[in-house]
């Protein structure tokens, strides 16, 4: 309702053939530059260090990938790192989706005293640089005896201002107030409205938020580096251990990078389609 699906006819009428070709060329170039560094890292990761000195650089993958991967598993506890990263990122993504939709619903559609002030406060908290509090936060984790554990990563990240604001923005546009009023007339409690009316409408945006949260939790680097130990790492901490110990061993570093990035790329390749499709479908239904 708020964003009708673009119809093919209007745009074709709007854009002449030459401009459309330029659009495709531009997008193809962007796709190329997005993929090339990742592709090249796989090329290097599947060769040996001697290949790096070749001019011109090798453009096709070699046969050493699995040997290099085995070296990664020998050097750092990579299986444990993968398990930790899945646990941490999955929990955070689900929690952020839930709490952000809940708060976004309240800010977008419920009336309460101090609503605007609280929303402004939420947005203002995004101004707080994370590095600012890292020293006391570390002291706090020591007090809670959470250093070296996944609690130190999960608990502070269960909900964030970006998620709340993102869902507020989406719901204030996509959630028809009449739908809520109809629910009220039918005798729904606020929780009932959230469960039966808000969640179905919020799903596409929540899915995007969940995906973005999962990715940023998976790729979070600085705080895990500070609070975890190399013995019980996440993927990023394991990767930095790998690269820090072997500054000149680019092949080992890039094999680890490829290994740490590929699961996310695969999941994203599979789910990204549905999620991006979901934005459009949801927009039509909403």
């Amino acid at each position: 309702m708020t964003a009708p699906r673009p119809t093919a006819r209007t745009a074709r009428r709007g854009a002449p053939g030459g401009a459309r070709r330029l659009t495709y060329l531009t997008l193809l170039a962007v796709a190329f530059f997005s993929a090339v560094p990742l592709y090249y890292s796989v090329v290097v990761a599947s060769r040996d260090n001697a290949a790096l000195a070749e001019v011109p650089p090798p453009l096709l993958p070699g046969g050493n990938f699995f040997a290099n991967v085995a070296r990664v598993f020998d050097t750092v506890p990579f299986a444990l790192a993968l398990a930790n990263s899945v646990l941490v990122s999955g929990t955070i993504a689900l929690a952020v989706m839930f709490f952000s939709t809940l708060a976004g619903f309240a800010f977008a559609k419920l009336r309460f005293r101090g609503r605007n002030a609280l929303l402004l406060l939420t947005v203002a908290t995004m101004m707080v640089p994370t590095q600012l509090g890292i020293i006391p936060l570390y002291m706090l984790m020591v007090k809670l005896e959470w250093t070296g554990t996944m609690y130190a990563l999960i608990v502070p990240a269960l909900v964030n201002a970006f998620g709340v604001f993102f869902m507020t923005q989406y719901l204030s546009r996509a959630l028809p107030t009449e739908l809520l009023e109809a629910g009220r007339v039918d005798g729904c409690t606020t929780w009932g409205l959230f469960w039966h009316v808000v969640l179905p409408v919020a799903r596409p945006a929540a899915a995007v938020l969940g995906m973005l949260t999962f990715m940023s939790a998976w790729n979070d680097y600085f705080w895990p580096l500070v609070v975890l130990t190399p013995e019980n790492p996440t993927v990023q901490v394991a990767l930095s251990t790998l690269a820090a110990g072997y500054v000149n061993d680019y092949v080992l570093g890039l094999a680890g990078t490829a290994l740490g990035t590929l699961p996310l790329v695969i999941v994203f390749g599979l789910l990204g389609k549905q999620i991006i499709g979901g934005i459009m479908q949801g927009a039509v239904k909403g």
Binding site: A3, P6, T7, T10, A11, R12, R13, G14, A19, T23, Y24, T26, L27, V30, A31, S34, P37, L38, Y40, L52, A53, E54, L102, A106, L110, F112, T125, M126, M127, P129, Q131, L132, G133, I134, I135, P136, M139, L140, V155, P156, V159, V164, F165, Q169, A174, N219, Y221, V235, Q236, L239, A243, Y250, L254, T257, T261, F268, G272, K273, I276, I279
Partner: protein
Amino acid sequence: MATRAPDRPAAVASGEPVRPRRRLRRHLVHQLDVKGSPYAYVAPFFLLFSAFGLFPLAYTAWVSLHEWTLLADEHPFVGLDNFRTLLADDYFWNAAFNTLSIGVLSTAPQLLLAIWLAHLLNRPLRAQTFFRVTLLLPNVTSVVAVVVIFSQLFGRDFGMINWMLSWFGVGGVAWNEGVASSHAAISIMIMWRWTGYNALIFLAAMQAVPRELYEAATIDGAGSMTQLRRITIPMIKPTIVFVVITSTIGAMQVLAEPLLFGSYSPTGGVDRQYQTLALFIYENFVKLDFGYASAISWMMFVFIVVVAGVNYLLTRRTKGGLV
């Protein structure tokens, strides 16, 4: 139902079939639900933020007023001494300059490109999904991966970028040695990772713009760029302001890129040519000089508020010029 018995005569007397006490209770529960639920729904964020955002913030201020090293048992109060030292510290001003330089170099082109890409994608195209997925691909890659990969690409002797530059007669650039070249290299890493992400945020906002506006504009003969300037940008203004502010804040806190680009040295290059403010904090954190690191943190906070505030005003102002 003995307890309800006294109600009955009253109900009968007033001729009301509904029992008033139960109705009152239901009314109270309803009122509690309507008035209380919103606060309960926004509470998780504020509780979590107080514990893990606000408390550390306040405590940083306290620590910054002390000579606080982890090695010493005593933390004497020194007032504003840390801040006085800081303002006279050339390394601090160097870091502030580097942060601003990398921030401008990475953010400004990135956002323009993101809006343009979102505009290109906000129309029916073949292989839409493919383009959207590839656009987000760099953001799926972690900072560690990006810097490891790009450090290789930017390598002086065997890097692919220098190899390509050699076609145009440009000889072996030592990317991480100069101020300008290292800032450019780091900005390219940041841009590569974030342009697609911001384009997706812009695209989500663009999809909420009523399609009829474009149809009307098309009938009036407005071209694609005119539609972008006259319809899309004014309509997604709140999102643009939001993205500009969050990108600015992110750019002011850049840490991982210069740290990893400099082979894990917190000085950001031999001559500190790309040490950012966040990296300067980290350098003192690693030295266990918590008091000084906290003072830098607070200065950085002020810095961020000023830069973000200026950007907010600038973005708001552009409205007049564009509409």
